[in-house]
């Protein structure tokens, strides 16, 4: 649906050129929710704005729905943009227009007859649960409501793509959840392809299918969210993930020396990650039943990455070195992610 190839963006800054994006290649499938995460200044906004050419890349091609936007004359580009909705961190609603008029804005650009406008706006306001705010002005709305207006406006010209630049960054966690749920519903029901830019990992975790990590204008990691979450490669990716999934050890072990080899009275700390189906398997019970080891559960939680259940356990395995070896072999044979931390007292 969206093909970015060899995208480059160089700004003319006051102190010489600033390279904001370097050699970006991303291919986003139809109907997918694609996340882009990175620190402030990494180039996320620049990248997403290159998709509808609000920012014209200095190199590379942008193809949306088979059309090369970078090669279009202005009038065709405007037509193509109507098929690419966008929502913003600061909503960017017209303060002088009511909710109704804001949502009607894109329709009025095409001189749609008033009765059709009304029908359409009412439908959209219903979709975003704002039926009762039709004649309010944006200043009378909460942040979450404003973003709902932004979403309704973005959907008015029936786009195939929805671009979200930090769409929830100005909202509190609960409102963020609600807006994300709405974006997800829209993605499902209307089959929209969604691109989400954020610096919050929980946004990626909650709704994205795939994610790209951007560092200093370069994509450093890209793949299905599940994979990036469970096997992060780069330190920065791990850092992002640790925000939503703590990797810290329980306090009792934090100051201890962790030994790579067993010693008398030691136990082996192991972190187990269960994904999807494997979360149902009675792994720990099997372990205790079959091997002469003691297993203590030090930490555990269950979460979801998009719709996949995702469980994490930190266990301590105590026993003779041979028994611990065998227990580990048993675990490795199961459908789990295993991270061996080391031996502690």
């Amino acid at each position: 649906m969206i093909e970015l190839s060899h995208i480059e963006k160089v700004y003319d800054g006051p102190d010489g050129p600033v390279t904001a994006l370097r050699n970006i290649d991303i291919s986003i499938d139809r109907g997918e929710i694609f996340g882009i995460i990175g620190l402030s200044g990494a180039g996320k906004s620049t990248l997403i704005r290159c998709i509808n050419l609000l920012e014209r890349p200095t190199g590379g091609r942008v193809v949306v729905d088979g059309q090369d936007l970078t090669a279009m004359p202005p009038s065709e580009l405007r037509k193509a943009r109507k098929k690419i909705g966008m929502i913003f961190q600061h909503f960017n609603l017209l303060s002088s227009a009511t909710v109704y008029e804001n949502v009607a804005f894109p329709l009025r650009l095409d001189n749609m007859p008033e009765n059709e406008v009304r029908e359409k706006v009412e439908k959209l306001l219903h979709l975003v649960s704002l039926d009762d705010k039709t004649n309010q002005y944006p200043s009378q709305l909460s942040g979450g409501q404003k973003q709902r207006v932004g979403i309704a406006r973005a959907l008015a010209s029936e786009p195939q793509v929805l671009l979200c630049d930090e769409a929830t960054s100005a909202l509190d966690p609960q409102t963020t959840k609600a807006i994300l749920a709405l974006i997800r519903d829209i993605n499902r029901e209307l089959g929209l392809t969604v691109v989400v830019v954020t610096h919050e990992m929980n946004v990626i975790k909650d709704i994205c299918d795939r994610v790209a990590v951007i560092e200093n204008g370069v994509i450093t990691e890209m793949g299905p969210v599940l994979e990036v979450f469970t096997k992060p490669q780069r330190p920065m990716t791990k850092e992002f993930i640790s925000v939503v999934m703590s990797n810290e050890l329980p306090v009792a072990f934090r100051d201890q020396e962790i030994s790579p080899t067993p010693f008398p009275g030691s136990k082996l700390l192991v972190r187990l990650t269960f994904l999807g189906e494997s979360a149902d398997e009675p792994v720990i019970a099997g372990l205790i039943r079959q091997y002469p080891v003691e297993v203590s559960i030090l930490y555990g939680n269950i979460d979801h990455i998009k719709d996949t259940p995702y469980g994490r356990l930190l266990v301590g395995i105590e026993g003779t070195p041979e028994a611990v070896e065998q227990a580990m072999a048993y675990l490795r044979a199961r459908d789990l992610e295993i991270e061996v931390i080391g031996y502690v007292r």
Partner: protein
Amino acid sequence: MSAEMVDLLLKALGETIRMVVVSMIAATIAGVPLGVLLVTTARGQILECLPLNRVLAGIVNAVRSVPFIILMVAIIPFTRLVAGTSIGTTAAMVPLTIASIPLIGRQVETALKEVPYGLVEAALALGATPMQIIRRVYVPEAMPGIIAQLTTVVITLVGESAMAGAIGGGGLGDLAIRYGYQRFRPEVMLATILVLIILVQLIQFAGNRLAKQLNKK
């Protein structure tokens, strides 16, 4: 004050209002587009055209740096060309208009610059043309600011029209000078000043109200 004086005062007031209203309308018709162009032809803007932007800004600054009284005299040949005469209320409208166009241009520019660029981007993302953005984003969003600024211009015009009147244009300024000063009738001077004060107050009040009513922020 005699009935004759009241008549004179009313006539002068009528002339002043005519000068201000006609010049204001003419200057707004030219000044608003000028202000719009000053904003939209700037760097990174929807109609970016730096040479035009510089030329317009140059003209605006040039006209604005000439004091009104000098401008009025300097353009007498032009005034004669347009109005057929260089004295009288109608003739005074020419310099009043010329002086107000760049003023309005700058004021409108200031008001439009207050519109967050994010709104323009949102409209661009929705496929709006530059004209649609001007008409449907810039102007309505800046309207309270534009009204507030234009109010100031109207008040400036009242002052300038008095100046124009003093050198043969009629209106309240003319009345104050001819009767109040030259014929030494302080009560006429006082009455004129009072009328001017009330006029300016009314304009400011109406402007504030309208701006406030339009402001939905």
